[in-house]
Amino acid sequence: MEVQGFGVLSLLVFLPVAGALAASFVPRNLLGFHRWWALLISAFTLFASLQLYVGFSGNTFHFQWREGMDWLPALGIRYQLGVDGISLWLILLTSLISFLGIWFSFHVRERVKEFMIWLLILEGAMIGVFCALDLVLFYIFFEATLIPMYFLISIWGGKNRVYSSVKFFLFTFLGSIFMLVAIVALYFISKAATGEGTFDLIALQALAADGRLATGPIEMWLFAAFALAFAVKVPLFPVHTWLPDAHTEAPTAGSMILAAIMLKMGTYGFLRFAFPLFPDAAVQAAPFLMGLSVVGIIYGAIMAAVQEDWKRLVAYSSVSHLGFVMLGIFSLNHNGLTGGTLQAINHGISTGALFLLVGMVYERTHTRLFQDYGGLKRRMPMFATLFLLIMLSSVGLPSTNGFIGEFLAMLGAFQAGANANSAIPLWMPVLAGAGVVLAAVYLLWMFQKVFYGPIRNPVVNRLRDIRPWEQAVAWVFVVFVFWLGLYPKFFTDKMQTSLNAVRHQTLQPPGARPAWADVRTIDINANGDVVVVQRDDLNDLGRWTEVAVRTPSGHQPQRLAMRGGEE
């Protein structure tokens, strides 16, 4: 089941990096080469990542495409990669957005070589974040994404780029330093528990599943350290102020990647690390973090409504939209988790596309202020149509992707709030609904200011509609908007089992939590029950035989007495 050495995932991580390395030896004046080379590499990465989907089985919560080897055995650090139903989609999203971002970056004319190299390195690092199964490895990838993005903003950014890039870097770096401390602490805790320290997520989670990792205040502190790092990335109110600056000043491809993928590192971090490793703390902190999410939803929307800068408005809308993701996953039921995870992908599509489209016009007019626009629909009807379609997905119109995510996330939060014994107050999901109203307010105002009314600016009066290749990039996004909106089953089918695992890992009492380490015995069936299973074939992840259902659906799960080597 585990490939010793390198496999597909390593290819996905290191192909872009190797491409960047190779490009660094080519003279910088060969602009065409650098552009096409980066596009080729990212296209190949995209193609290779599709293989993950094809071979992925939605019937197990265990990591697939696993590969690993000892890296620093003396310190218990392993090079270990794998994907499950949550990270699968984020990796696919990463390779897609990176490809489209590089494609659109053909318009960049300054220091093309460096630009493409940084984008490729960034792509590799981001894929690494989503498949690393060792905490140190994860941390390295997590931090490694900062460097290329820092340079992308500070070199190719707008007028205020230095301030923004520094702010971006400091915020995220300071947030994650505490996580590093917590990671080291986990090593010592695991050493105390088993005699052998480890950074292996699977091993650590097996301890957490038995309640042997960290409990009480220590667990709370460790959770807080992880949560801070991820909250900054998401970003949650009030640690969000780096986002508008960074998104606004970044070059178009940078904004797209920041919004579409780097914010998802935060929500992913909660699902992958914070929940399974510190389940009790996560449950305790859920009402607080959901409260912050609701504040962020409303707050981000109000802030978006008063912006006079087109791109900054889109940036603030991210604060609001990511609130729904957090609301969904912290409601810790199946609807909410699915909705939150879908919404993370949706936001990548919608907001990535919004930044792309804003970038197309900015490229022509070099202004982002609403006062310089008006009547754009007259000169750019095709662009206006594409923008409208993407905007509607951001508004959350039913039949677009935005609706499915928000609907399920709010449904989950409502369910969590409505249950009498829940710690989550009902006003949270109710108030979050105001965010949907406000989304219509700021997005329609934006559309009106830019596209409707008379043309006021002579530059706008002379604009040509966008060119076919630009349309092509945008249409890719539109296809995903309606694919996700009308047939989300395609995406949720391979997600459900992994989300059930996270849910049970977080909510079950110690001993009954499914552990990734228990390859032989415990899994989760299509109804979301923890079951004991037997595999026919160790190499065929799709074929499982159910032996016994341990938690009948709809009832409180029973404590599992035995785990581990049970057959």
């Binding site: 870097f169 780096w242 409502f414 596209f451 009314g453």
Partner: protein, 737 residues
């Protein structure tokens, strides 16, 4: 495609019901056709021939849907009345272990009634629009939105689960938004469009919460549902079990469910306090006002209430709220209509008021009467709007009643058809409005759901009087009076919406000039084409009758307004009172979906024939009184005092200051608050004090990082790099050892 299911399996339903999907798909195909090929066809075939083809292509899918709907309705009517329910489902939309939402259509009398109205009246209005929009600059864009609207509206009417209804619900809202802002060159139209969408979204917030609550209730009562059922939001699962499932809940939840659904209905159907968007929505082209903002979309709220009536019936509180809001809105909007000077605004408030009637009917338990009024109102209000459109066209797009007068001489067909619509809405027998309005009033009088329902009846009666009044005012000012007021009035200052002409700065535009920017010649050519030749209304203007494509639909709707009500009601209540047994066709058809008429249950009704005659007399009397009083006032033309509305009339016209207050309170003050909040809190406190402040603090303290913030980042980058180097050297060290 699977799978027709029916709860009454002894009848194997006809596979013809699969064709319901075609009703839905036809306008979608039409929409895609217009969107993808509209402009190209117009360019290829030329304006005249191209538009003829496009207009034809826009009407056909809707008309085909109507034919199919008739076919299905006939089939369904042929079935036993208790098995008139067929569900046909396609592929799953949301499919989770905790929720299944398939694409599934529900065919029952109620949904087919809506289908017949939407496609029937819809195709007439489509025909009309091919004439109305003939000279517009953007023909195919109009029909793109128009066909899409039909598709969403049918989804709303036929969807068998709440999320599907919600697709239609917000989808029609989107089309409404796009069509109100259709003439987007004028920023005011765009603002009206925004207002419509945003106010509707407030209602949708409530609707969505209602869906969540229903889900929670049904998902926590799995043992009452069929084994393994995951369609917690499908009507065929939730409606039959409503009483059983809600029996376990207190009055709070039982009342909150219908009230939340009603919040959605209040938004979509423009009831107080959310009606604000509908008058502004008149900024759209007139066919839009007729189809979306009178005949179909705004009745969706009534449809929703009728569809989920079992939940309303479980809570008398919710019924009282529905009836109260409906009655109040009916009266309120009727008064506001007196103060309007714009012909379309009069009709807009009239629509709000009539919708109030429909909710009044629902609130007293007469869901069938409410739906009956939806139907007759679709006939006569579409007629009145289309007629007003013909007037507007004849009057060079001037909508001011004060500039009209004596138009019957110039546009006789429009005049005669609108007269029928006028008598229908006023409630004069035998025109359509009388039958449904009388049924609502009688139901209100005899309702046993609320205490002293006679108050509701009285409000409805006063509203009937006012309705006859303001409609008479509108008709008299338009078609009667000896003065042709546009001839005497000073030339109307025509607002020219064409854009200012720019003298573009031809300075450096970089290397991508041709790829990104138009040349001077191209700009000139486009501006030439864009310049619209609107002629204002001048004293020399001679109004002319509209084209046949516009008056033929008027005549058809006039025929429906003339006989539609009498035919559908089987001349009841007269037939009943005179002892002749003619079935009430509409009720006989619809009652399996919406329950029996209140009148059938009210025993008092049977006992006293005198009261019944008195009620009929009162409702005819109100109409006659309203017409008589106001015809006297306006038959000679515009009274001098109304050149500019004064006093009470003016106050009424300004919606008793309600709209202005709301705008001040929420838009202006809210905007100021948000702006201040942004500057003080986000930029000032969080960013200014905490972020930058602490950065400065660190900067001041740091001995190593003295120079600047940039320096500190480089330092961090360096630190990471050094760290990585150390780690790598450690790897090399351990592996080579």
């Amino acid at each position: 495609m699977e799978f027709i299911t029916t709860p009454h399996a002894e009848h194997l339903p006809d596979p013809v019901f699969h064709w319901a999907w075609l009703i839905l798909l036809a306008p979608i195909v039409g929409f895609l056709f217009q969107a993808a090929l509209g402009r190209r066809i117009e360019l290829a075939l030329g304006k005249t021939a191209g538009r003829r083809l496009l207009g034809f292509a826009a009407v056909v899918p809707v008309a085909a849907g109507f034919i199919l709907s008739v076919l299905l309705a006939v089939r369904l009517a042929g079935m036993d009345e208790h098995s008139r329910l067929v569900i046909t489902s396609w592929f799953p939309w949301i499919d989770l272990q905790t929720l299944l939402v398939p694409f599934e259509l529900r065919l029952d009398p109620l949904s087919l009634t809506m289908c017949l109205i939407v496609t029937g009246v819809g195709s007439l209005i489509h025909v009309y629009a091919t004439g109305y929009m003939a000279d517009d600059g953007d023909y195919s864009r109009f029909f793109t939105y128009f066909n899409l609207f039909i598709a969403f509206m049918l989804m709303l009417a036929m969807g068998n689960n709440l999320p599907l209804v919600f697709i239609g619900w917000e989808g029609v809202g989107l089309c409404s938004y796009l069509l109100i802002g259709y003439w987007y060159h004028d920023i005011e139209n765009a603002k009206a469009a925004n207002k419509a969408f945003i106010v509707n979204r407030i209602g949708d917030w409530g609707f969505a919460l209602g869906i969540f609550l229903l889900y929670w209730v049904y998902a926590s009562n799995q043992d009452l549902l069929p084994l393994g059922e995951r369609r917690y939001l499908s009507f065929d699962v939730i409606l039959p079990l409503a009483e059983q499932v809600l029996a376990g809940y207190g009055p709070l939840i039982v009342s909150v469910i219908p009230l939340l659904l009603f919040v959605g209905a209040v938004g979509k159907s423009a009831q107080w306090p959310l009606y604000l968007w509908l008058p502004d929505a008149m900024a759209g082209p007139t066919p839009v006002s007729a189809l979306i903002h009178a005949a179909t979309m705004v009745t969706a709220g009534v449809y929703l209430v009728a569809r989920t009536h079992v939940f309303f019936e479980l809570s008398t509180l919710s019924m009282a709220v529905v009836a109260g809001i409906g009655a109040f809105t009916a009266l309120f909007a009727a008064t506001v209509a007196f103060g309007q000077t714009d012909i379309k605004k009069v009709l807009a408030y009239s629509t709000v008021s009539q919708l109030g009637y429909m909710f009044l009917a629902c609130g007293v338990g007469a869901f069938g009467a409410g739906m009956f009024h939806v139907t007759t109102h679709a006939f006569f209000k579409a007629l009145l709007f289309l007629g007003s459109g013909a007037v507007i066209v004849a009057m060079s797009h001037n909508q001011d009643l004060r500039k009209y007068g004596n138009l019957r001489k110039y546009i006789p067909i429009t005049c005669w058809t609108m007269l029928i619509g006028w008598l229908a809405i006023a409630g004069i027998p035998p025109f359509a409005g009388f039958w449904s309005k009388d049924e609502i009033l009688a139901s209100a009088f005899f309702s046993n759901l609320v205490q002293t329902p006679q108050i509701l009846w009285f409000i409805g009666w006063v509203t009937a009087f006012l309705t006859a009044g303001y409609m008479t005012r509108m008709m008299m000012l338009t078609f009667y009076g000896n003065g042709e007021r546009w001839r005497t009035a000073e030339a109307h200052a025509h607002a020219d919406h064409s854009q200012e002409h720019f003298h573009a700065d031809h300075g450096a535009q970089g290397e991508h000039d041709l790829a990104y920017f138009l040349t001077d010649d191209e700009v000139r050519a486009i501006e030439e084409e864009e310049h619209e030749h609107h002629h204002g209304l001048t004293p020399e203007h001679e109004p002319r009758e509209v084209l046949p494509s516009m008056w033929v639909p008027l005549v058809a709707l006039a025929a429906l307004s003339l006989v539609g009500g009498a035919a559908l009601s089987g001349l009841n209540p007269f037939a009943h009172l005179l002892g002749v047994h003619i079935p009430h066709l509409f009720e006989a058809w619809n009652h399996p979906s919406v329950g029996l008429s209140v009148l059938d249950e009210a025993s008092a009704f049977r006992e006293s024939i005198a009261i019944e005659w008195a009620l009929i007399g009162a409702s005819i009397g109100a109409a006659v009184l309203g017409i008589g009083l106001f015809a006297r006032r306006y038959i000679k033309g515009l009274p001098e005092s109304e050149a500019e509305p004064q006093g009470l009339q003016r106050l009424a016209g300004e919606q008793w200051l309600y709209d202005r207050t709301m705008v001040r309170l929420f838009v202006d003050a809210g905007g100021k608050f948000a702006n201040a909040f942004y500057r003080i809190f986000d930029s000032g406190i969080i960013d200014g004090i905490f972020v930058n402040g602490s950065a400065k603090l660190v900067g001041a303290m740091g001995l190593l990082l003295r120079r600047s913030q940039t320096g500190s980042v480089r330092f961090y980058a360096l630190a990471i790099a050094v760290g990585v180097v150390f780690a790598l050297s450690y790897v090399i060290y351990t592996t080579t050892r």
